[in-house]
């Protein structure tokens, strides 16, 4: 039966090639746009680089400090003192790591300025995030404790500075400090916000120790547990601590803190929708907004296809008349036309996937997002497939219903 439907569909597609082309054009480009968006979101939510352990950690990188009446408010990243007095007291995480966030720094070589990004961090950072070392190693607890001037750099910088020769043991000067290179890692995509940098050094190499007195600063914290289901416990413990057991001896009378430990999806939601006096991330709002956006974007191509298909009913009226006369039920006809519509959407979808692979390659090569790699993987393909089915169903259902309702007699005569 299905074979017959497919055969009929194929014949119909070939009969009016121009209409098939219009349909395919709309479907493939719509799906290409959606696939590119999906694969970028996927690249962010499920990183392939050092952050591939992201299911096991949450990040605390926002802090709102305020007073009872909210008349004076600080919103930003965390200060070292806040981390030391509060976050380090958390008992549920297996590992807690802090880092300074990536900041820009200039290296000068051969009368050229090389803008680089640079991050100060601790030894746990290397345990939580899964960096691939090309040579050398990361710094350990001892080196961080002693404030040793050691640095890990990425492959691109190593090649720029030393060419093919080994970078280990060489020295690196910036910010008027001299570091010894002990490790070279792979390049990390800029989309992995907590991992990306060109240079990593122990946080204890700060030129002054006065950062230790600040509640507000530029630090971010990663809390890790080997069991992903424990992450919610960490969030609960953290919020409970902020509400009931906060240590905050702030000079400006700030006594209330809002913050949260978030995974990647929660983090976008928090940035986009949460108000500053809240512990919640607003993931529901974000999910709703995303779904609405996708539906709205698919609306115009769908209506376009429905329009086209409805106007082509006449073309097939004699076929429908014959089938009805020979006893085909309305539901059988509906099924047939939906199969047809899904079939053409599938073909269009495949073209769309090819287009999106091509465009994603272009985006990667453009260097818009440094070291980004958006491959197609099974998850993205699956989402694409679901989108194709939904799209095919939406654009096929209404015309199919209309076709199945044709009066067999008038259909055979070729009228409405």
């Amino acid at each position: 039966m299905l074979y017959n439907y497919v055969l009929t569909a194929w014949k119909v597609f070939l009969r009016r090639k121009f209409f098939t082309f219009i349909n395919l054009f709309g479907i493939s480009l719509t799906l290409a746009v959606l696939m590119i968006a999906t694969s970028m979101v996927e690249g962010y939510l499920y990183p392939k680089g050092p952050e591939k352990t992201s299911a096991n950690y949450k990040v605390i990188d926002r802090l709102t400090l305020t007073n009872e009446k909210h008349t004076s408010t600080y919103g930003g990243r965390l200060g070292f003192k806040f981390i030391k007095e509060n976050i380090w007291r958390l008992t549920s995480p297996e590992l807690i790591s802090l880092n300074s966030g990536a900041s820009s720094v200039a290296l000068y070589q051969n009368n050229q300025k090389m803008p680089k990004s640079f991050r100060r961090t601790d030894a746990n950072y290397w345990k939580i995030l899964d960096f691939k070392f090309i040579e050398g190693r990361a710094f350990d607890h001892g080196e961080v404790e002693q404030g040793q001037f050691v640095a890990v750099i990425n492959q691109k910088l190593a090649t720029e500075l030393f060419g093919q020769s080994s970078a280990i043991g060489k020295s690196l000067d910036f910010n008027n400090q001299r570091f010894q290179i002990i490790g070279v890692t792979e390049n990390v995509s800029e989309i992995e916000r907590n991992a990306t940098a060109d240079i990593w050094t122990p946080y204890t190499t700060m030129p002054s120790t006065s950062y230790q007195q600040d509640y507000q600063g530029s630090w971010e914290v990663i809390v890790y547990h080997s069991d992903p289901s424990m992450l919610d416990e960490i969030q609960k413990e953290y919020i409970n601590m902020l509400k009931n057991d906060l240590v905050l001896d702030h000079q400006d009378g700030m006594s209330v803190a809002y913050s949260g430990a978030f995974n990647k999806f929660e983090n976008i939601a928090y940035q986009a929708f949460s108000d500053e006096y809240s512990y919640q991330s607003g993931t529901k709002t974000l999910a709703t907004v995303l779904i609405v956006l996708v539906v709205v974007f698919m609306l115009l191509p769908s209506i376009n296809m429905i329009n086209l298909n409805v106007s082509r009913i006449m073309e097939r009226s004699s076929e429908i008349g014959v089938r009805k006369a020979f006893g085909a039920s309305a539901s059988q006809l509906v099924a047939q036309f939906i199969v047809e519509s899904i079939l053409i959407t599938l073909v269009g979808g495949l073209i769309g996937i090819l287009i999106s692979v091509f465009l994603l390659n272009l985006i990667e090569q453009s260097g818009l997002i440094a070291f980004a790699e958006f491959g197609m993987n099974l998850r993205v393909l699956f989402i694409g497939f679901v989108l194709i089915l939904v799209f095919g169903f939406i654009s096929g259902a209404y015309p199919a219903l209309k076709m199945s309702r044709l009066n067999p007699v008038s259909a055979l005569k070729g009228g409405e």
């Binding site: 480009l29 200039a106 009368n111 300025k113 008027n176 700060m206 007195q213 191509p301 329009n307």
Partner: protein, 396 residues
């Protein structure tokens, strides 16, 4: 003629309804993109209010909380050391840098109005070096030191928005019932200072005076340098060394205004470009869809067209009929879209979307949709004229 066509469109209302919806949505897309593009073009045409040539920014990144007694000395020393360099012609203090989304906004109530503005601080000589234009009053000067008022400079938009037609020089614009009532006296009005660049919003802007000798506890955040022309980028390294020698506990970020400006323009235009490409693709798709539908309809209406030909309609009249029909359908689609769109300026959803922008964007979008309809209907209309009456009447 038009009434007749309206009747025909109405008779086919069921199949036309979907086309109307499609055109309405397409019009919403075209309108949004046009409005966005026009808005950005307007912004780009509005003068910046300052010169960015040969300007460099040094952002101070303190690694710890600001300690005025220690840190102000360091900044003073850095300023004087830098000015000694032959490459540097002037050095000034400015808190929030140009061309970056780094701003300080403030709002308070005065005479029943919410005064909302973007603020910044600079030193007395800075506006002249930045090439800013003074419209009324004066810049800050030594006469402002040790006074019982806080002097402020505001831009023309500040005056036009909150005190239209008033002479604001000498006016106290402080919040009335503040705990410590300190007079904020307007000493001058300048043309503009569009801190965040050519494509940023136009906002009321206010400068406070930054006097390093009587500075408060607020940290100083950046130094702006006017360089002599043709200074090489590599001079940065030397600057870093000089500044690090004076303040080893700080980090410094050096950028030219020109490079920040390029980044700002690129980052603002990128999403707009992506939207425009997606929008164009949607339009091509709609155009091909309409074209296909019309073609199909014309084929289905062969008999009707044949009858009209037999009764003496010329080819031209048939052609015009097909095109006018689609235009009438488009008109309904656009009207529905217009009913939705007019809510935006009425409800003030986007403060940027004023009536004049709305009008011009609507007009351009209307022209584009009309053109699109005519182009889509042209070829199907042509086909319709090719039917000879006898052939058409025989068609079954």
């Amino acid at each position: 003629m038009l009434i007749h066509i309206l009747k025909m469109v109405w008779n086919r209302k069921k199949s036309n309804a979907l086309i109307v919806v499609e055109i309405a949505i397409a019009f919403l897309v075209v309108f949004s993109l046009t409005a966005l593009a026009l808005r950005n073009y307007q912004l780009y045409q509005t003068p910046l209010g300052f010169d960015y040539q040969n300007m460099w920014r040094v952002t101070i990144k303190p690694s710890a909380q600001w300690q005025p007694e220690r840190d102000l000395v360091a900044v003073k020393q850095i300023l004087s050391e830098l000015e000694k360099q032959p490459e540097v012609s002037r050095a000034h203090l400015l808190d929030n840098p140009t061309f970056l989304n780094w701003s300080w906004t403030s709002s308070y109530e005065l005479d029943g109005k919410i005064i909302r503005y973007t603020g910044n601080r600079f030193d007395d000589k800075a506006p002249e070096t930045f090439g800013m234009t003074l419209l009324e009053g004066r810049w800050f000067g030594p006469q402002d030191s040790g006074q019982n008022y806080t002097p402020v400079l505001i831009n023309k938009r500040f005056v036009d928005t909150f005190f239209p037609g008033e002479n604001v020089i000498g006016k106290n614009i402080a919040e009335v019932n503040e705990k410590n009532p300190q007079e904020r006296r307007v000493v001058g009005v300048f043309q503009d200072f569009r801190q965040m660049g050519e494509l940023s919003k136009l906002t009321p802007y206010l400068f406070e005076r930054l006097d390093i000798d009587s500075s408060s506890n607020r940290p100083l955040r950046g130094i702006e340098l006017k360089m002599s022309p043709n200074t090489q980028i590599i001079f940065e390294e030397q600057m870093q060394k000089i500044m690090k020698r004076i303040a080893p506990h700080w980090e410094f970020d050096i950028q030219t205004w020109e490079s920040k400006r390029q980044t700002h323009i690129k980052e603002t235009l990128l999403p707009i470009t992506i939207l425009a490409i997606v929008g164009c693709f949607l339009m091509v798709m709609v155009a091909m869809g309409l074209f296909g539908v019309l073609w199909q309809n014309v084929t289905a209406r062969t008999q009707e067209i044949g009858l009209r030909r037999a009764l003496g309609s010329t080819e031209k009249q048939i052609h015009a009929q097909i095109i006018t029909e689609l235009l009438v359908v488009s008109f309904f689609g656009v009207s529905i879209a217009a009913l939705i769109l007019v809510q935006l300026p009425l409800l003030g959803v986007f403060s940027e979307l004023n009536w004049s922008l709305f009008g011009s964007a609507f007009f351009i979008a209307l022209v584009m949709m009309t053109l699109l309809s005519v182009i889509c209907a042209f070829y199907p209309g042509k086909i319709a004229t090719n039917y000879s009456p006898s052939e058409a009447l025989h068609y079954e």
